[in-house]
């Protein structure tokens, strides 16, 4: 690993944490806006220092471990949740190429051939954080929350996978960099895969435990769900992991279906290549922030599902739709190939 990559990963790490921290602020502001309130406005101008105040509060609180809890797993749970949330950003292409001091740098940690599968693998490990944390608490509400999380994650991974199969068939590559380049050449995937995008979006809500699928921490019936017994920064890590996941899934949605860092027509302007890259990165962040806002918008305007409804939607709604989408995509793709000759 070169020094440049290490530096890039460090910057990515800081940006991810900053975005996650300010997502908590944005969440409260969006909630306030949707409910016709003002929201946090005490810490700094417009309450802009609120995340710092929240973070300090989290660190200062007593770190309490219940007597009946399994101490090692109780600590391991939030750690797994946080680490896996931070690991996925590495394979996302955050921009094109920058030329500095006569050398070319790619704005991507690494571009493995199986980039999208890597994202899946890490997401599927992430559920252990919630499961182990909830189980180790030795509390029935926490246990119910983690059991819900496990069944929900496993069920919706299938729909997520099926929507990706159609996408990969169309793009002919599993690498995220390759998918963005394919979209730059052939138009964004949302034009060809509107149904796949819908399935992916719904599954992304379920995988990040966001409302209306936030059954694992459903406070009306489970107190706090899997993190009932957690306090101080251990709770902070669980909450932070949720916002990090939201940021990363928004970036993945933008990359897979909305052209990533590609801006239509930007290449024709004949700008300086470095400037083009920076505009592309800004465009990716704009798309990502829109989806973060969308996540919040949905949370504050839809009621929560019941658990059997959630399972019905996953198994009887999204999976058959996903299979149909794969079949239709395959058929149309081959008909077009035949027609082209």
């Amino acid at each position: 690993m070169t020094l440049a990559t290490a530096l890039f990963l460090l910057v990515l790490f800081v940006i991810t944490l900053t975005v996650a921290a300010y997502s908590t602020y944005a969440e409260r502001k969006v909630a306030a806006f949707l409910q016709d309130r003002i929201g946090p406005d005490r810490a700094g101008p417009f309450g802009i220092l609120q995340p710092l105040a929240d973070g300090t509060k989290m660190f200062m609180k007593e770190d309490f471990i219940p007597a009946a809890a399994n101490r090692r797993l109780f600590t391991l749970g939030p750690a797994i949740a946080m680490v896996t949330a931070l690991m996925t950003g590495v394979v996302i292409p955050w921009g094109g190429e920058l030329t500095l001091f006569g050398e070319t740098f790619k704005l991507q940690g690494t571009d493995p051939e199986i980039g999208i599968l890597y994202v899946f693998a890490i997401v599927s490990i992430g559920v252990y954080g919630i499961m182990l944390g909830g189980w180790a608490s030795n509390n029935k509400y926490a246990l119910l929350g983690s059991v819900r999380a496990a069944s929900q994650m496993v069920s919706y991974e299938l729909g997520l996978g099926l929507s990706i199969v159609a996408l990969v068939m169309l793009n002919g590559t599993l690498s995220l960099g390759g998918i963005v380049e394919h979209q730059a050449a052939n138009g964004w995937n949302i034009l060809y895969q509107p149904l796949g995008f819908l399935i992916f979006l719904v599954c992304a809500f379920a995988e990040t435990n966001r409302s209306p699928f936030d059954m694992p921490e459903c406070e009306t019936e489970l107190v706090g769900g899997y993190h009932t017994e957690f306090s101080s920064m251990k709770l902070g890590f669980f909450l932070f992991a949720e916002y990090t996941n939201m940021f990363i899934s928004s970036a993945v949605i933008s990359t897979l279906y909305f052209g990533g860092y590609h801006v239509p027509g930007l290449d024709r302007l004949g700008l300086d290549p470095n400037l083009t890259t920076l505009i592309g990165t800004a465009a990716l962040f704009a798309k990502t922030f829109f989806f973060i806002f969308f996540f919040m918008w949905v949370r504050w305007s839809t009621p929560r599902f019941r658990f059997d409804q959630l399972m019905n939607l996953g198994w009887k709604g999204l999976i058959p739709l996903g299979i149909a989408n794969v079949l239709i995509t395959g058929t149309v793709y081959h008909l077009v190939e035949l027609w082209k000759g």
Partner: protein, 182 residues
Amino acid sequence: MAALFYILAALSVISALTVVGARNPVTSVIALVVCFLSIAAHYVLLNAQFLAMVHVIVYTGAIMVLFLFVIMLLNLNKPDGPRKSLAMRLAAAVAGGLLFITLAAAVRQGVQIPPAAGFDPGVGLVRSVGHVLFTEFLLPFEVSSVLFLSAIVGVVMLAKKDKDGTDQATDITEAERARRAA
């Protein structure tokens, strides 16, 4: 690279032993997860990234989550493995020791495992895996998918209820279930 291999190999062996040795089932499951992850890392060392990721998604991400799920639901967190009698333990130690001696002797005799002729670094790429799967191993691939299909149909048959609410698997009617619950 060699150092990395030895660290990973040690991790695989230690975690595999922990799976068998641990008294707490949750510890066993976590050790098995670590074991699967280290095996995936071995695949990456062999440049088989596709296999590594599929291994993590299927085994670590799905099957082990179900294991953990069942253990949590059955609440098996008491470390109460069945205690074996002294004779049983003695017999196991002797049998295991003999097997170990045989294996150690075989290795000492200098069994040379020849390296697979000319390792091709491209063998684990998605393209080559897909090519082999759909040409050389097409029949086993399709047969295993039929096997999965029959498993799915079987599960649906077992879990399905009749129109009057009778459970297909146990022939218990809705009324009977209500009576038992009461």
